[in-house]
């Protein structure tokens, strides 16, 4: 068990990196501590244009997380838990496909986890495309699994199932 907040964050980052490695070689990086939220750190996976996923590229992925570190129940170790995220998938042309959001604080009136089904914008956009479809908390591993299992992207490591199940 991590004995410090820094060790807990490092271990979380290591796990995120392993999960990302199932579909790409992008690197998760910690930004700076989040303002007004002690113990919360912002992490980002990719550069601004998103990481091209698949060969040939099928989608582009952008991902960021808010990660909170705090003492666990034993008070002798630290846990790192995701307290917010933005996981966004675009087409290779940059058009939005789907976005998994959880931004508990800020200007948006929607503070619970939700999904934007951007790809259905069009005739039914008022119904779904522009709305916030409620979801539970989506793990990054779930998004990676979605990319492989549902979007048909070839995984970049053979043990991806084991990785994403742990």
């Amino acid at each position: 068990m991590p004995r410090t907040a820094r060790a807990a964050l490092s271990e979380h980052l290591r796990m995120m990196q392993i999960e990302a490695s199932c579909v790409c070689r992008a690197v998760w990086r910690p930004g700076v501590p989040v303002q007004g939220q002690p113990g919360v750190t912002w992490l980002e996976l990719t550069g601004p244009t998103g990481i091209a996923i698949g060969r040939p590229a099928r989608v582009k992925l952008r991902a960021s997380q808010l990660v909170a570190t705090a003492p666990d129940q034993s008070d002798r170790a630290f846990d790192a838990t995701v307290s917010g995220y933005r996981y966004e998938l675009d087409g290779v042309d940059g058009s939005e496909l789907i976005a998994f959001h959880w931004h508990p604080a800020g200007r948006s009136r929607i503070t619970r986890p939700h999904i934007h089904l951007s790809m259905v914008r069009g005739a039914d956009s008022r119904l779904l495309g522009a709305g916030h479809v409620p979801s539970g908390i989506v793990q990054f591993a779930d998004v990676v699994r979605f990319i492989i299992a549902e979007l048909g992207v070839q995984p970049t490591r053979a043990d991806w199932r084991t990785i994403l199940e742990t």
Binding site: V32, Q35, G47, S108, R126, T166
Partner: protein, 74 residues
């Protein structure tokens, strides 16, 4: 049996500097909204996107907005 994750190396916990974060903010604002980070901050503070996660705005505004809302840039 050892899990695949257990065999993976530790990662270096290297935080971004404030300057690197601003550079990332700048790149994101230009890439997604064709404006500078400074222009985004000005527009954000002026209330250009009163409902940034709403039907009139695509998710890229919310993506860029995290640099202001979460990271306190601007």
């Amino acid at each position: 049996m050892t899990s695949p994750a257990a065999a993976e190396p530790d990662v270096e916990l290297k935080f971004m500097t404030r300057e690197e974060l601003w550079q990332l903010f700048e790149e994101n604002a230009r890439c997604h909204l064709n404006m500078s980070a400074g222009e985004f901050v000005a527009a954000w503070n002026a209330g250009r996107w009163p409902d940034p996660d709403g039907p009139e705005t695509d998710s890229k505004v919310m993506w860029v907005a995290q640099f202001v809302e979460d990271l306190g840039l601007g």
